[in-house]
Amino acid sequence: MLTIDRVGKTYANGVHALDRVSLNVEIGEIVAVVGGSGCGKSTLLRAISGLDTPTQGSVTLNRETILAPHEKIGMIFQEPRLLPWLTVAGNVGFGLNHVPKAERVRRVAEAIDRVGLTDKANVWPRELSGGQAQRVAIARALVTRPEVLLLDEPFSALDAFTRVDLQDHLLDLWADTKPTLIVVTHDVEEAIVLADRVVVMRPRPGRVLEDIVTNLPRPRDRQSAAFDFAKRRVMAALDRSLERIAEKKPAREPEKAGQATSHWW
């Protein structure tokens, strides 16, 4: 189980990005984290990944405190972040350097097959489209068989058609080994399609506003009434999360570099 216990983060420049966020995530659960800009979604994810350490509270995975990147925690970023000097196969196998060569080759080939890029195994990343590159990133993260996979707005840079395709694809891959997924997104529909549970955050400082359990049956029908209802619930919660700021008239805080500048609406 992944436990996030009263995690807070204040950056060196004084920006209070995250305030006592607590969350328990079961093994194999898919959790979506949504919220407007500057509500600390990415900060939270970076704290879970161990890339940044929280200034208060702790993140524990199976009772082990996460202070630095952990082998059982994988991460997919908003951009594919492929290494341009490695071929697709080289990129997918990047995290398998300690694995014996024969097994590495087999697992890499399997992962590339699984994301449908068999014929692209030996090309350079520059020859891939945006969607293909993000699939390679997914394969690279999954090939190490993480228990927890963190996704930071993974599909937000893709066109709508590719995005839907990759969401379905991600769910397929998830069904193989059922890792825990935590998806940060500003796309409510994406949150409902992927997640069993949607955490709505409130900005300045980032806090959990509502924890909505949807538990729709899979595969999910984007047209169904239940889907629509879940979507409305999350939208309503998001509206509430923003009302608070309108009342407070917040002092503008500079957005953390690396976070998306786009808004969820």
Binding site: S49, L51, A68, P69, H70, E71, G74, M75, F77, E79, R81, L83, P84, W85, L86, F94, G95, N97, W124, P125, R126, T144, G258
Partner: protein, 282 residues
Amino acid sequence: MSLALMTATAEPATATQPQRRRHLARLARPLLGLILPIGLALFWEIAVRMGLSNGRLVPPPSVIFNTFAELARSGDLQQHSLATMWRVFAGFACGVAAGTILGALAGYSALLLRVVDPTLQALRSIPSIAWVPLFILWFGIFEASKVILIAVGVFFPVYLGVMGAVVSVDRKIVEVGRVFRLSGFEMISRILLPAVLPAYVISLRAGLGLGWMFVVAAEFLGASTGLGFLLIDGQQLGKPAQIVAAIVAFAILGKLTDWLVVAVTNPLLRWEDSFGARQQEA
């Protein structure tokens, strides 16, 4: 039936012709660059032959060629070229080693950058020739002072190139390395080094160019061998053809060594997604 036969026989002809033309074009492309120098040389040769100039101070190509051939036959050219090449090679190796190590460390560690960089930048602004008297006092007038002068010349572009490249490696790619828990050494060898390689090759070429520049300066200051000595010798004995022959030898060797650096590193840079790479593919 006849139609099928016709297309069958016609096909190879139409397929090979554009292919052959493309092949020819590929061969001809480097030749384009030769038009200007050969044209100028021919023009001068004809001008001297027609008596428009006596060609004493600016010898025509045929005289230069003869001098060049003469120097090559007597073995002088090889001896002097080897002496010069050895100096450049030794100085280049020392300068590259020092520049790469210091540049990588200064780029990797912010502390070291703050400690080392201001001093190096200050030293860099000294014209390197200004070191010569001091080096001769310190290291004597023989090979050591020459090699060290060349090494100093090579060091700065390499140091600057490596340091700048390491500092500007994309944080996002470094984070990928952190997510996969690379050790410090792995981070350097698997992320930082490949990422700086394109910039590194450019700084190596700049360093090599400076190495060839400094070897002449070093050989002007009391050498009994080397192409630089041939230049001085030609000046003192009034043999412009020998000077030009030595200059031609410098040009050939400089271009050859630069090409060698490019040829050795090119296979390592095929992944580059750059304007230049695209042009070469086309």
